[in-house]
């Protein structure tokens, strides 16, 4: 397995800047997930690495050796497509044998290798079937098998689970993670599903509008988002945000309508002092970092309840803003009921509304 280094990669499609000065490293044996919304440039990045797309500028290097000029075949990478891209009129076996056949392996070695991989993927009983005779999950495994038979230097995966139903997706997440660690393979995995990213990645790279937003471990991405975009994109339900200003006299964060008022610590005050404009701040807190509590400091009115069995989400109106609160499963309240909210301030964030960057 190899490491991948992308340096200053830029790519335009006509007027659209698909990738803007992207620099990213995937370490040997690492599971790196490139996460971002639709049209963020994720697939373009992958295709540039695979050699299916020409770069405008920048370099792609495997184990430190630049491969810009090499064809997809010469790069010796495996690519798993969102659509699986299985050869339609060939059996699962023939599909998996294809890369080896193209490399002129002898038939008995091909048979042995394909069976090996099929056993690992638990698809030995499917080998005679054609793609049309297999379910999405099975096709996905065959596509994976086709990538695995030849020990590529790097696995590139383009939203491989997107076309599967929810249950299979959950199963395959665990399966992929298991395979990756068993093979000690380097995975460069693209998805727009933050749950996939959180559950599988060693590190997550968040991409938006062709620009890299943050690269870090899932925990760090979740707890310490670099900016407002990352904070809102990762986590479900998404982070609550309230437009605020900093009032130096009261040393507190105050929402536009004055209903929310949160006193800040010295360290937080120091962080807020870095803002471009201290009257244009965004307060952010995840639903689990705020609770409905008699000792709460902020007044709110229950708007709607969303019981999910293991927990209940409560939308609370705080002045003009709505704050989604994660409450116990048994929590019940009437619409319009007055409640008090307690914010776990050390876990909350304040963003610079102008630059989008995290202040704390």
């Amino acid at each position: 397995m190899s490491s991948l280094t992308i340096t200053n990669l830029s790519k335009r499609f006509g007027r659209k800047q698909a990738l803007d000065d992207l620099t990213l490293t995937v370490k040997d044996g690492e599971f790196l997930v490139l996460l971002g919304p639709t049209a963020a440039g994720k697939t373009t990045t992958l295709r540039c690495v695979a050699g299916l797309e020409k770069l405008d500028s920048g370099t792609v290097a495997l184990d430190g050796a630049v491969v810009n000029g090499l064809s997809p075949a010469e790069r010796d990478l495996a690519l798993v497509f969102q659509t699986y891209a299985l050869y339609p009129r060939k059996s699962a076996f023939e599909n998996m044998a294809f890369p080896l056949l193209a490399r002129d392996w002898p038939p008995d070695r091909i048979r042995q290798r394909v069976n090996e991989v099929a056993t690992l993927l638990r698809i030995t009983e499917l080998l005679e079937r054609r793609p049309a005779q297999m379910s999405g999950g099975q096709q996905q495994r065959v596509a994976l098998g086709r990538a695995m038979v030849r020990n590529p230097r790097l696995f590139l995966m383009d939203e491989p689970l997107t076309n599967l139903d929810f249950k299979l997706r959950v199963e395959m997440r665990a399966e992929l993670k298991r395979l990756q660690s068993e093979l000690a393979a380097t995975f460069f995995y693209v998805t727009n599903d933050q749950v996939e990213a959180m559950s599988m990645a060693d590190r997550i790279a968040v991409l938006d509008h062709g620009k890299l937003q943050q690269v870090d471990t899932p925990e760090r991405i979740y707890d310490h988002p670099a900016n407002l975009f990352v904070a809102q994109f990762v986590g479900s339900p998404r982070m609550n945000t309230i437009n605020c200003r900093y009032d130096a006299d009261q040393a507190a964060l105050i929402s536009a309508d004055g209903v929310l008022k949160l006193p800040l610590t010295d360290a937080q005050r120091a962080a807020v002092a870095n803002a471009t404009d201290s009257s244009a701040l965004i307060f952010g807190c995840r639903p689990e970092d705020v609770s409905i509590h008699a000792d709460g400091t902020v007044d709110g009115k229950v708007f709607v309840l969303e019981p999910l069995g293991d927990r209940t989400f409560v939308d609370v109106h705080v002045g003009g803003a709505t704050v989604r609160v994660r409450a116990a499963a048994a929590y019940r309240a009437e619409e319009g009921e007055r409640v008090r909210l307690a914010f776990d301030l050390p876990r909350c964030h304040v963003f610079d509304a102008v630059s989008g960057l995290t202040l704390f």
Partner: protein, 302 residues
């Protein structure tokens, strides 16, 4: 007139079913007269000694005699050989050429639409018109021989040498119907998803390997359909040959196909009964052939 909406409407008998039948009936009646009636009439004629000049009381049933005579007649079989000599090369060349042109056109480039339209023109012309201007070009002092001589070659007896005539017919058929094969092949080629080629490229498959394992398997069923269409069509070809070299298929009956033989026997030879019988032999042969091809098609469709 009943304007109250109560009581029996005037067209109450005109139910949806009746109306549907009414609309279809003109076509049905025409079809009945130009297809079904002649079919049955000729089938019954094939078992008689009917000629064009027979009075009704002179017509006798002869059982399978016409069929037995024809199946024992070498000249009758020879017509099928001639037909095959024209059909097989025509369809094969159209297939290869059409596919090749489709491969060339299966990409984006300036003027593609114009080129496509120009290429499709031969297919849209009437076979009689096509045969007529090819006849002019293929005449002894025609433009084809002019260019052959200008390039230092010997003039070719396109329309008078028995060994050349079948190939002249093939040439005209190829010119006219290659666009059809091209169109079908192009439909097949554009149905191949681009990501399959990319997957193969990543899998290190060469161009030939990609063609052989991705393009061909996907395009083959469509090409088979093209082959079936063209085979059946070329098999019953009359008009082109008729105009090109005459109703007997030219010198030595070199291009007298089975279809022309029916015409020669039944119309020019006045032998309606035998001609009808030969027509039915043709029908059985083409049904058998079509079935074979369709079985192949189902196999490649897998």
């Amino acid at each position: 007139m009943d304007t109250t909406g109560r009581g029996r409407p005037r067209f109450s008998w005109l139910t949806d079913r009746w109306l549907a039948g009414l609309f279809v009936s003109p076509t049905l009646i025409i079809l009945l007269f130009i297809a079904i009636y002649p079919l049955i009439w000729s089938l019954s004629a094939s078992f008689t000694d009917r000629t064009l000049l027979s009075r009704p009381d002179q017509i006798n049933s002869v059982g399978f005699e016409n069929y037995v005579d024809l199946l024992n007649d070498n000249r009758a079989w020879q017509r099928f050989v001639v037909t095959a000599q024209i059909v097989v090369p025509s369809v094969l060349i159209e297939l290869l050429l059409g596919f090749a042109v489709a491969m060339l056109l299966n990409r984006k480039f300036g003027g593609r639409g114009v080129i496509m339209t120009v290429i499709l023109i031969p297919m849209m012309l009437s076979p009689v018109v096509v045969a007529l201007f090819w006849r002019f070009m293929m005449q002894g002092d025609g433009i084809l021989n002019y260019y052959i001589q200008a390039l230092g070659g010997q003039p070719v007896l396109w329309l008078s040498s028995p060994s050349v005539i079948p190939w002249s017919v093939v040439l005209v058929d190829v010119w006219m119907w290659t666009p059809f094969m091209m169109l079908i092949a192009l439909a097949g080629l554009s149905a191949v998803p681009k990501y399959l080629y990319e997957a193969a490229e990543v899998d290190r498959a060469g161009a030939w390997f990609r063609f052989r394992h991705i393009t061909l398997p996907i395009v083959t069923p469509l090409l088979m359909i093209g082959i079936i269409f063209r085979t059946m069509d070329a098999y019953k070809m009359i008009d082109t040959i008729f105009v090109l070299v005459g109703d007997r298929g030219g010198a030595g009956r070199a291009a007298q196909t089975a279809g022309l033989y029916v015409y020669d026997t039944a119309i020019k030879g006045f032998d309606t009964g035998v001609g009808s019988a030969y027509g039915y032999i043709m029908l059985v042969v083409i049904i058998a052939l079509a079935n074979l091809l369709i079985r192949q098609l189902n196999k490649v469709k897998g």
